[in-house]
């Protein structure tokens, strides 16, 4: 049953541009994919090590700016700039991981918020590098040999590959010994430490991978919208990621993707359903209702429902 659903899902994803001809819907799906990578990235920290990062927009933004600047200023190819962006954000993740590894809970949250705040201000004020609030227009669309991936359907497959790669990285990591160490950490840190789990090492590892994935999402975003400005560091982006992870189901692999799809589609659905005055109000109310009725998220609720039916 599950295998069938998965197969159907994969088939659906692979053939989507052929039957979803409307480019606006395809645009929504591409944005959902980019946010899906972000949600997977945040979930690695929040869902598996239990550390909440409220500065994740910083990694997203660093990725977007790095990839945009490498292609614009140094005229690197997209295929080199994107790994470059991932590498630099992973480095930033390592730095934050090393710095904040002694901190837990609210204190970790605050360090990440502050880090994002500083980076965002740098992007606004370092005019020579980032062009400040004027942003960087004209980020080139990627090219593959003679083909430009400017068309939505082509870019869709690029994003799909990004999502698949991120999912595999997360799945491999979580399924390995490292993943069990993460869980041990989340559930009972002193105990994990007492049985010889190197807490510091694993937390830094989680931060590095998580930041790298967020950088990947940033690069994909920059070359899709072809415009990067300091708004990529907006706190609302971080909030959106948190909403996607927690509402989808943190600590599950499918949860962040479900959350990303739902919470990218919801604002657009509200655009169609109601006039602008009510859109954000309805978004807030729907979010409250969702948490209220499914406090652990959609995917865990579905799993519980299936388990109940099976028994």
């Amino acid at each position: 049953m599950i295998r069938l659903a998965r197969g159907l899902g994969a088939l659906l994803a692979l053939t989507l541009p052929f039957w979803l001809a409307n480019p606006y819907f395809l645009h929504v799906v591409i944005m959902a994919g980019i946010f899906g990578v972000l949600a997977l990235s945040l979930n690695l920290l929040l869902g598996y090590t239990g550390q909440l990062s409220l500065g994740h927009a910083a990694f997203f933004g660093i990725g977007a700016y790095t990839s945009a600047l490498l292609t614009l200023r140094l005229e690197w190819s997209f295929w080199l700039a994107l790994p470059g962006a991932v590498a630099l954000t992973a480095l930033a993740g390592w730095l934050i991981g090393r710095l904040a590894l002694k901190l837990r809970g609210a204190y970790f949250v605050l360090v990440t918020i502050s880090f994002a705040g500083v980076i965002s201000l740098v992007s606004v004020n370092w005019m020579e590098l980032t062009n400040g609030p004027l942003g960087l227009p004209g980020v080139p669309a990627p090219e593959l040999g003679p083909w430009s991936l400017r068309a939505k359907s082509a870019y869709y497959y690029l994003v799909l590959a990004g999502v698949a790669l991120s999912y595999l990285v997360c799945a491999r990591l979580v399924g390995s010994r490292i993943g069990r160490a993460f869980l041990a950490l989340r559930e009972n840190e002193p105990l994990a430490e007492s049985v010889g789990v190197d807490v510091t090492h694993y937390l830094v590892l989680a931060a590095v991978v998580s930041a790298g994935l967020a950088g990947l999402a940033g690069g994909l975003y920059a070359h899709y919208t072809r415009f990067v400005s300091p708004e990529v560091f907006l706190f609302t982006y971080t909030v959106t990621m948190v909403v996607m992870v927690v509402a989808g189901g943190k600590g599950t692999l499918a949860g962040p993707l479900v959350g990303a799809l739902l919470f990218t589609a919801l604002p657009e659905a509200l655009r169609l359903a109601t006039s602008w005055q009510w859109q954000m109000l309805a978004y807030g109310v729907l979010l409250v209702l969702l948490v209220f009725f499914l406090p652990r998220g959609i995917v865990p609720a579905l799993a519980a429902w299936r388990a109940r039916r099976a028994s």
């Binding site: 606004v124 004020n125 005019m127 004027l134 942003g135 227009p137 919208t225 415009f227 655009r271 169609l272």
Partner: protein, 390 residues
């Protein structure tokens, strides 16, 4: 499926319109509007929307465009470039609007611009000030607002009369504020005035005392202030608390002196404001009758008077697009784009006509709006002495 029939239906309706001038039930002409309707600059975005609605109702009262009613499809960009791009995509693909007006802030406009190129739909830019918008070689862009450089040149002839010898700058830390500091700084240096401190503030900041204290120490005579009206109010109040004692000149045309008089009181006394519309003396505008009618309609609808200095942009943007659709005789994006190059109309601000700007072959259109200066005197908005005497 349905979409495939739309062009056919439109052709049939158009034929009908030509045969029966009075027109019967016809599909409306859609115009997209992208504005920041929520978030930190929601007030300004909503004023522009109100102005756009007046233009729509006026056009429809006069019988619409070729007998077809104008319908505005309004989208919120939430002051977020990502949302501006999504809104443009939605308007073009879902609603099939043949032309758009938007998107207030420069970064929102810049983010929506690739979509215009992708689908080939023209956008009339009503507020954004960044020079790069018309310099990028996007042939679908037609701007009716002045970039900062044009605004600075508009002030050039008054610099001596205003007595600016040594100026400092306080600006919001966005493309708009940064652009204004650069443009006005260059213009002042050219006129032989000294330029002192250039301080910036976050868009959401409420306490600007540190910047004011720093500016106080430079010993200049004039403070150029570029930000939204809320922050202008706060800066004026805090400058008064600190006895700054400078001549204040606000730029960008968003300053709404009426709101400043109401909210900053004595702290706003004596300040000068660069504006693109003077609703206090509509008869002094290039088209006095139109300006007066717009002010009267605005008041009749119960919209706040202080919103007029922003609201007129919405009217002028929609009027420009409607004129182009009328000239094109069809609501097809490319035809409207071509017609935009030929429009020549009178807006509330003054004459609107587009000149080529940007790299050859892919020029954007830039109109040359009228620029005015007013002063707050005795708690009222007045023409500055050097203008009033004329």
């Amino acid at each position: 499926m349905l979409n495939r029939w739309v062009p056919v239906v439109l052709v049939v309706l158009l034929a009908g319109a030509l045969l029966t001038p009075a027109g019967f039930a016809q599909a409306p002409v859609k115009i997209g509007v992208i504005q920041p309707l929520s978030g930190p600059v929601a007030a300004s975005g909503n004023y522009v929307r109100m102005g756009a609605e007046i233009a729509r109702d006026w056009i429809n009262a006069r019988g619409g465009i070729g007998g077809r009613k104008v319908e505005l499809v309004i989208e919120d960009n939430k002051s977020d470039p990502k949302e501006a791009a999504s809104a443009a995509e939605k308007l073009i693909v879902r609603d099939r609007v043949p032309a758009i007006m938007g998107a207030w802030g420069s970064s929102m406009t810049l983010a929506a611009m690739p979509k215009l190129e992708e689908y080939g739909v023209p956008m009339v830019v009503e507020t954004s000030s960044a020079a790069s918008i018309t310099k990028r070689g996007n042939p679908w862009i037609f701007r009716i607002s002045p970039p900062s450089e044009m605004e600075a040149l508009g002030l050039e002839r008054y610099v001596a009369k205003l007595g600016v010898k040594r100026a400092d700058f306080l600006a919001v830390n966005t493309d708009w504020g940064r652009g204004a500091v650069g443009a006005f700084g260059d213009m002042l240096k050219k006129k032989g005035a000294a330029v002192g401190a250039a301080e910036f503030m976050d868009q959401a900041a409420t306490d600007m005392n540190a910047q004011i204290t720093k500016i106080k120490a430079t010993g200049g005579d004039t403070l150029f202030l570029t930000t939204a009206v809320e922050q202008i109010t706060l800066v004026m109040k805090q400058a008064q608390e600190q006895r700054l004692g400078r001549k204040i000149i606000t730029t960008g045309g968003s300053s709404s002196p009426t709101q400043l008089i109401k909210q900053a009181g004595a702290a706003a006394e004596g300040s000068y404001h660069i504006l693109f519309f003077m609703p206090w003396f509509p008869e002094a505008m290039p088209d006095g009758k139109l300006a007066k009618a717009f002010v009267d309609e605005w008041n009749k609808r119960g919209h706040p008077f202080e919103g007029l200095t922003e609201g007129f942009r919405g009217h002028d943007g929609i009027a420009t697009i409607a004129e182009a659709i009328k000239a094109a005789r069809k609501d097809e994006p490319k035809a409207i784009r071509d017609a935009l190059w030929k429009v020549s109309l009178m807006g509330v601000n003054g004459p609107i006509r587009f000149e080529k700007d940007g790299p050859a072959g892919k020029e954007s259109g830039q109109s040359k709006p009228s620029i005015f200066v007013v002063q707050i005197k005795d708690g009222k908005v007045a023409l500055p002495d050097f203008l009033a005497q004329k």
